[in-house]
């Protein structure tokens, strides 16, 4: 295995913009490259995560190549997934020896449609999608199961929201932030029982871009690279009713494959657009909130840029290694309805 590390990243997020996806991509890609001190021509491999369904344009990812300056020709690829899975592909590309550096990016414009409705279209088209449900209702079902099972409480969920919003005060691309008391949050009406507004993510338009590099190349680009020690992704059955929604087995499996339980975890960035998801994933990964700092960026709850928010979790975790505040961290990403697919990336400073 080649040693591969995250060496730089950049993010953007706004509630809504009329800029095109390309107009959003270019400044963030430039910022990530500048943060790494890398020229465009030095990028061996470009890998992109996005979803045409969310954009409402077939093959929209093809035009994203226009943002990269593809002349003379470049080596690039795309996954119809969150950018975290693009990072996985780029990591494999570097493992093959065909690349030493890669720029990975994920982007989404949540403002172009009712994304909670669009996201529900990934359900099985014969039985579940025709029900006309949306992502919030599905999340509510999962939260209800966990609440009734006594695994989490509504207060736990509100505490996730309060902590996330407080942490978001230090995050310049957070879309909601502030000091709020758990009691005040719990006093609010429910939007979709059992979910209150604070349990539901703030949707954003934006981009996350990450530069990864191998071995000495990484050492030349960052004084303290975030070395990817393990990365794995697993998937549960598609049918909502056909899997363990509380135990999240695919997250458990990915964490085991990554050896998450082997040592202390300083920071865990968990991709959890809904508050109960952070609690369920935390359980599945075996994260101890007493010793692990969870979502210091505020997480996807305060800035949910679809197809970028998972990659952003890896980037945010890596940033705590890059700036020297953490030694061993986890970036987690999820896709599919109700935590169907889960990716775990363990990074270390040494």
């Amino acid at each position: 295995m080649r040693d591969v590390a995250v060496v730089a990243s950049a993010h953007s997020a706004v509630s809504a913009t009329t800029d095109t996806p390309i107009e959003l991509l270019i400044p963030v890609i430039n910022e990530a490259l500048a943060n790494a001190g890398l020229e465009r021509r030095e990028v061996d491999f470009w890998c992109h995560g996005s979803c045409d369904y969310l954009v409402g344009q077939p093959f929209s990812f093809v035009s994203a190549v226009d943002a990269l300056g593809a002349w003379p020709p470049i080596v690039e690829s795309h996954v119809e997934m969150d950018g975290a899975w693009a990072l996985y592909e780029a990591w494999i590309k570097i493992q093959t020896g065909e690349a030493d550096t890669a720029l990975v990016f994920g982007n989404g414009k949540s403002s172009v449609a009712d994304m909670f409705r669009v996201m529900a279209l990934q359900l099985d088209p014969y039985v579940e999608a025709p029900l006309g449900t949306d992502q919030i209702a599905l999340a509510g079902l999962q939260a209800r199961m966990a609440l009734d099972a006594g695994v989490i409480t509504e207060r736990d969920m509100a505490e996730v929201a309060a902590r996330s919003r407080r942490d978001a005060l230090a995050n310049p691309v957070a879309l909601v932030s502030g000091e709020v008391s758990v009691d005040d949050l719990l006093a609010a009406d429910k939007v979709r029982d059992p979910l209150r507004a604070h349990d539901i993510p703030a949707m954003g338009d934006g981009v996350t871009a990450v530069v990864i590099a191998a071995g000495d190349r990484a050492r030349s680009l960052a004084s303290r690279p975030a070395w990817i020690r393990a990365i794995d992704h697993r998937i549960d059955a598609q049918r909502i009713g056909g899997r363990d929604l509380i135990g999240v087995p695919s997250a458990v499996a990915a964490a085991e494959r990554c050896g998450v339980g082997g040592d202390r975890i300083d920071v865990a960035e968990i991709h959890a657009p809904f508050t109960h998801e952070e609690l369920l994933v935390g359980r599945a990964l075996g994260i101890d909130a007493a010793t692990t700092r969870i979502n210091p960026s505020g997480g996807a709850l305060v800035s949910n840029v679809l197809m970028a928010a998972g990659l952003a979790r890896i980037a945010r975790a890596a940033e705590t290694v890059l700036d020297g505040t953490a030694d061993r961290v986890i970036g987690h990403a999820t896709q599919g309805p109700c935590l169907q697919q889960n990716l775990v990336c363990v990074m270390e400073g040494a």
Partner: protein
Amino acid sequence: MSNEAEDVLRIRTPIGVDYAWSAGRRSSAYLNGLLEGRLIGKRCPSCTRVYFPPRNGNCPMCGVLLVDDDVEVGPNGTVTTFCVVNVPFLGQKITPPYVAATILLDGADIGMQHLLQEVDAADVRMGMRVEPVWAPREDWGPTMENITHFRPSGEPDVDFTDYAGQL
């Protein structure tokens, strides 16, 4: 069994999603220009090429954003290449034969496709100079359909070497 159910071989599950697509600032300048009968392109700050239309707002060669300043192009242009459509197809609006041409508007660095009419298809040639024919002003919208077609302008042909770099 007396009540044997038949297999379901087909179901209908209509799904609709509405999207609010935005053209972006630079493409909007192009579309708004068409409302006024102006042809607005944008220049790449890196390679200085002028894109018309300035699609996605960037230079795909350089991967940089186009500058905000408008660059008015045309209205006349040069046929850089063309195709004579002889085959009828479903939904065809014009009776064949007709000519679909790539037209390099004056001042632009990338050709655009449009109809070439008021000329016999056999007389169309690379380097031919053409001018736009506009629809009645009351029919204009933010669309290239404001120009119904191009036709020969009568100007002398352009030498191939003058547009070889923009093919």
